[in-house]
Subunit: 199 residues, 4 copies
Amino acid sequence: MTKGKRGRPRCELAQEAILEATHNLLTEKGGNGVTIEAIAKQANVGRPTIYRWWPSVADIVLDVVLREADSAICVHHEAPFARNLQLFLRQSVQTLNEWGGAHLRFLMAHAQKDKEFRERFRENFTNKRRQIVHSMLLHATETGEVSPICDSDLLIDLIFGPMWYRLLTGHAPLDTHFADNLTEQLLLLVQENPACRKK
Amino acid sequence: MTKGKRGRPRCELAQEAILEATHNLLTEKGGNGVTIEAIAKQANVGRPTIYRWWPSVADIVLDVVLREADSAICVHHEAPFARNLQLFLRQSVQTLNEWGGAHLRFLMAHAQKDKEFRERFRENFTNKRRQIVHSMLLHATETGEVSPICDSDLLIDLIFGPMWYRLLTGHAPLDTHFADNLTEQLLLLVQENPACRKK
Amino acid sequence: MTKGKRGRPRCELAQEAILEATHNLLTEKGGNGVTIEAIAKQANVGRPTIYRWWPSVADIVLDVVLREADSAICVHHEAPFARNLQLFLRQSVQTLNEWGGAHLRFLMAHAQKDKEFRERFRENFTNKRRQIVHSMLLHATETGEVSPICDSDLLIDLIFGPMWYRLLTGHAPLDTHFADNLTEQLLLLVQENPACRKK
Amino acid sequence: MTKGKRGRPRCELAQEAILEATHNLLTEKGGNGVTIEAIAKQANVGRPTIYRWWPSVADIVLDVVLREADSAICVHHEAPFARNLQLFLRQSVQTLNEWGGAHLRFLMAHAQKDKEFRERFRENFTNKRRQIVHSMLLHATETGEVSPICDSDLLIDLIFGPMWYRLLTGHAPLDTHFADNLTEQLLLLVQENPACRKK
DNA sequence: CCGTAAACGAGACGGTACGTCCAGTCTTGTG
DNA sequence: CACAAGACTGGACGTACCGTCTCGTTTACGG
């Protein structure tokens, strides 16, 4: 007997509806309104159907974010590094303000409660985003735009850390001004940085 | 008619027990074990007694952290700024590793779900911590150790952001090595920083 | 175009497997283990296949019982009535103890929840069993072994009622001793019964 | 605040409401409508409140029946045994027809699925009812109205068995005619019964 | 020095959401 | 075209906590 696919194929409409319902609930009612029950109701779907494909609400939100984020990322290596970094930060900040803020705050909150999800989140989102920046840095090093990086991990922390920090605490706005100032400071560290050069 | 105080004075032992029980639950069972119910049981206290003094679990945790943090902060302005910054980061990192990690992760997670608590958290913890650094910077500016700061808010974000980021995502360790490297980079920004100087 | 048979011929093995699986589940796991899902899995059969032939689990169990019961019934009219009655009760009691108890308890329980099944159950099982006794009584009346029966329905209730009662409540064992004692009492009612004679 | 008393004193009111709601649901919608969820809704009660006091729906129904049954039992030992027996059967039959049928069918059905409940049911209902009859028989034996009973258990089975049997299968009506006929047959067994006398 | 009023433990209350089981239907690919 | 496999909607389950609300019972001030 061929092991192949038997049985009713999984209904993609259902998954689509679940993701969309989750997205809508997040943007409309914020993180507290995102419940398995509410999603199921909004998507006209049975609760067990949700559990068949996702282990928790947070994983659905993660899928929503990944799907949107994939289409949003655009880095042109041909452009100068300084411009690229500015663009990346501006885009990130803009996304957080437009729709992604509630999503990411929800994800990070859940990641603190569920150790296994924290790893999935890190693997599928955080590290992916870091790698984008890492490759940007590598490319800029080759072209000589930036000094050789001593501890690129720390540098990347300096890029994402402040954004997350502002997003989560809300002590100051996440605007273009912030993105540009951050860009400026980071460029200072990266260009003519004696601490890096010597290593 | 002197109204004065009638009735039984509030039992401070109860509050003490609640704070201690919360602390123990957090360190032993992690964030998920900290529920009003568990705290009440552990502290041998009725649940309403808790609600009488704190509006939510997170506020108890916040009190636990504030009490511990107050005793942990020690900044000596007489020391050189570079040394002070290093000390501050090392102490912060050490605290997060020893006991404070679970606490702060719990607080930040709850701050995402409860808007009003987010403000209390920001007011009583985040901003307090920022002010310490801010005054350090001001003092160092006066002594000429660091260049005049154009956007001290951003600079402070660059200090706390990476720490929170590592704490919450867990993608890399929060160790002395990290604290020292971060110190080094921050000092570069602060000393002879043309971007700041010119403004 | 010859009509002939198109498509896959229906598999009688499947129905066999379903009945056997149901029987096994009942005897092994008791009434709670008998679900459409479990039967389908045990019989290596799709659930819709079951629904094609039976409207509910109880109907499958009824079929299992009917099939077994048909082969178990053996009444010899030539024997004296007293002996026949004793044999019938002993056999019934023995069947309930050996395998049929779980089956009949399951059937009776379901009959209380599903009105339509209750009628099918009564028609195909209860009444069939009553008729066997009824014909026994009729034959015995003709031979003069028993007095003419005034209300044979009640008499038959007195035969089956106690058995069901013990089976369902479990307050006392269903053993040979019980069967013999019941036989004895019933014979008293049936032989030289003034209440019946006079009518 | 006049909406109703909340808090602890509602305790008894809640249980009252639960029992009444269960009773109403049973009589109106039959056994299938009796769900923990439906009861909770009908009684304006949280589901956990129900679980705090009863382990299952069947136990609630059992309480409903016990409460009603206690008030319905009336046996006058001064009356002659024959009259007493007739009264008992007539009352039992009447109760089953008026309201108790659905309740008892539900109880017996659940007793088949839940072994532990079966014991509670037997202990608190079945055996209680049997003891009433048992004491009636004992008293009648002392006064000489009935022959010494050889196997009173069996005799009691002959009283309750047919009633349950008719109730559960529904093959014949549970009316006064039935009660009187059953009384008549039982009296025959009990008076001048050689099978008993000789033992 | 005793009455009284606040704070206490205990825990029941109405609820919300959870994650699971199973029912019964529908859809597909295989033989 | 009957079948297995299995995904679908949906209803009820029993559990964990929530935040609110009495219950008596301390307990230390104020009359």
